[in-house]
Symmetry: C2
Subunit: 424 residues, 2 copies
């Protein structure tokens, strides 16, 4: 047990469930609570934020132009933050035991920016604890349960804030002023151009969300698509869309795991599924991609990533995305290298995801009353924190978005340059 | 010792220095030599080539439209090929004990294409042997000796076939019909655009060859450059060029190792040095890049690479590039990940290097009489094989060319898209 752990544990045990009485001043004129906050701020790299305690005490990190303010409602909440800065903060925020004055994104950016590089946002204690618990396994059954918990919340809920395309992945902004729907449309064209789709070709999609990309490929590029997904709600939605749009003969939605993909195709595409695959399954995903591709085939995998291997934010993994993990580029190579697949292009779209998430967050806030009626206030705050924290993750470089194009090693039928992606 | 090794070793010992007498027919009507060739062809994946032995015997792999012919001059040469297909073939070709009928590049492509994917062009025996010998270490002193052996052969020699730019790295062909000099010029602009160079900025270059890129950056982008290189011949040449072109005040050439780079810069660039760094030194190279870059800085590393970790062709490493190693992308990540550097863009220019090498090879062949006068016939054949083999490596996907753009993790002053690379 290290010094930090000791300094937390002892007061917690004695003060459990104590009433929110004024804190006892110490020798230095500061309460034990205030000194704990100082320690917490120090672990966070001393960001320009101010803790306002239930006692009325204020404790600040470094001075800054805009000092963000955090309200802590009671003593046990403070101890929770100290014990587990990730899950503790997330749960306390959701419950309203912690509130943030002003802009939540700006507050989280301030915290993320101040943290020592490579610290992976973990308190020493959390780091110690997280060794004992990894993300939930993505076996065939585990994946189904993990995916169900996030994506089967209800299509109506997602429709409130994903925009007209129902694309739940990073958009592509050709210009800074593009709208969300424009960015999602441009993303799909960007992906299709990277895949060099030609009319009559066959595409397999691993993880197809609400089916948007498959329909887009069929409509604009004249290809036939088989799209796999294990979210029942999404498959039902996607099939209905294909029928309504007269594309059911071109796009087949298969309610099954990517590991059960069969057949050969001109293109393999997976946008936003890799986060749910688990590094231990990357060689298997690569095997599927490799066996799916004809010699002149092309593939694209689009995923949230990291600059270096690090666990997903523990609260996000526990409350929002069970089993999820954003890989480093080196980890992603475990997909391609065992099969001698050739990486042709990697594009980091980090700032595009920050913009996408800001658009989602704005729509979400506008619909928050409806979300509250669907669920409850705690749910509203939980998803607000998830979306705002994700914006901050991408703007501060804690999270990346990698779009990787690949092909069999001897496919020389590839464009000499990438200029074709930027024409018209 | 495995079966292959045994089957090679025994005949070799008994037949050493034996005269090239007609081979003794076996029960099957085939000589021992012919059966050895069949085994060799089988290990190579049975390519559409024909061995013509000193005895007049012919042994072919699979039938093909254009069967390439290989002449073997004597029995000991055949055994050498069998014992070590990489170094043995290279040395025998250099000595003229093996000759190839027709186009050498096409012959090598036929062999490379037929080899089982991931086999890394190694006979079983060679694979066994290579475990005992890695590339020569790239310590400060080892690097100096390794670099001296390749780059200090003589500027006059390289000037015969590198074209006017004296760029000894992969060019960039905006169109298939671009000339070598146009491609080298376009490559430098492509690199500078990826680095977003602005007038007045400072650039550090790790491994600068004959100084071409440094002069280009200063002339066309108005930046100040410090360029490091441990090849004495190249530094002398580069300084003379900077003087002659009136750029000596903007470009400083430093005869020193990249590990001794100091100061901070707007951009870090290294084109074609990583092959000589050694994977064990990648974190150190990353440390240098990281400490060199200002917060708004950008970096670019351009290197020959692989689809998966594999040793360099043993003959190339021994005779042409001592200490060299082309990394996989996962290995390259050892440069960036320890320092939380963010990979923004990876472009695979494999087919551009095939084109560049074809241009070099044509100029080299045109100058072969002069090369012979400078050195000797063996040297001419040795470098012909190196250039032709490199073309085949890139066209068949055995070799890759990765151009990686990176930046500190919180540099948000980066272009939203890559469209700016393709304008004008």
């Amino acid at each position: 047990m290290n010094a930090v752990e000791q300094s937390v544990r002892s007061p917690e045990r004695t003060s459990e469930n104590a009433p929110a009485a004024p804190a006892e001043p110490t020798r230095a004129g500061r309460s034990i609570e205030a000194r704990l906050v100082e320690r917490l701020l120090s672990l966070l790299g001393n960001p320009a934020i101010e803790f306002l305690l239930w006692t009325g005490e204020r404790v600040s990190g470094r001075p800054g132009e805009k000092v963000q303010q955090l309200h802590i409602k009671d003593r046990s909440t403070l101890f929770t933050l100290f014990k587990d800065s990730q899950v503790g903060f997330g749960d306390a925020y959701s419950d309203g035991r912690v509130t943030v004055e002003g802009d939540l994104v700006a507050f989280l950016e301030t915290v993320y920016e101040s943290m020592p590089r490579g610290s992976a946002e973990q308190s020493l204690l959390r780091r110690f604890m997280s060794r004992r618990r990894g993300p939930r396994a993505n076996t065939l059954e585990g994946s189904r349960e993990n995916i169900h918990r996030h994506y089967d919340i209800g299509n109506e809920f997602y429709a409130l804030w994903l925009g007209r395309t129902m694309s739940y992945t990073c958009g592509y902004y050709p210009t800074v002023s593009a709208s969300l729907d424009e960015a999602q449309l441009a993303k799909m064209h960007h992906v299709c151009r990277k895949l060099q789709l030609q009319p009559g070709q066959r595409v397999v999609e691993a993880g197809c969300g609400w089916g948007t990309l498959g329909l887009h490929m069929a409509r604009h590029y004249g290809v036939k698509v088989r799209a796999f997904n294990i979210s029942h709600e999404q498959i039902v939605f996607a099939r209905a869309r294909a029928m309504a749009e007269g594309l059911a003969s071109q796009v087949e939605y298969v309610e099954d795991d990517y590991r059960n993909i069969t057949g050969t195709y001109d293109a393999f595409v997976s946008v936003g599924m890799l986060e749910h695959v688990g590094v231990e399954n990357y060689p298997e995903l690569g095997r599927i991609a490799n066996q799916s591709l004809l010699r002149r085939g092309r593939g694209l995998i689009h995923s949230i990533g990291r600059n270096h291997a690090a666990p997903l934010h523990a609260w996000i993994e526990r409350r929002i995305f069970p089993g999820a993990y954003p890989p480093s580029l080196a980890e992603m190579m475990k997909i391609f290298e065992p099969w001698d697949l050739s990486v042709l292009d990697v594009e980091n779209l980090r700032l595009h995801y920050a913009k996408t998430l800001r658009h989602w967050l704005a729509l979400y806030e506008a619909a928050s009353e409806r979300v509250k009626n669907m669920f409850d206030e705690k749910f509203v705050r939980m998803w607000r924190l998830y979306l705002a924290g994700s914006v901050a993750g991408f703007t501060t470089g804690t999270l990346q978005l990698f779009q990787v194009v690949f092909a069999p090693p001897d496919n020389n039928d590839i464009p000499l340059t990438r200029a074709h992606l930027y024409q018209g």
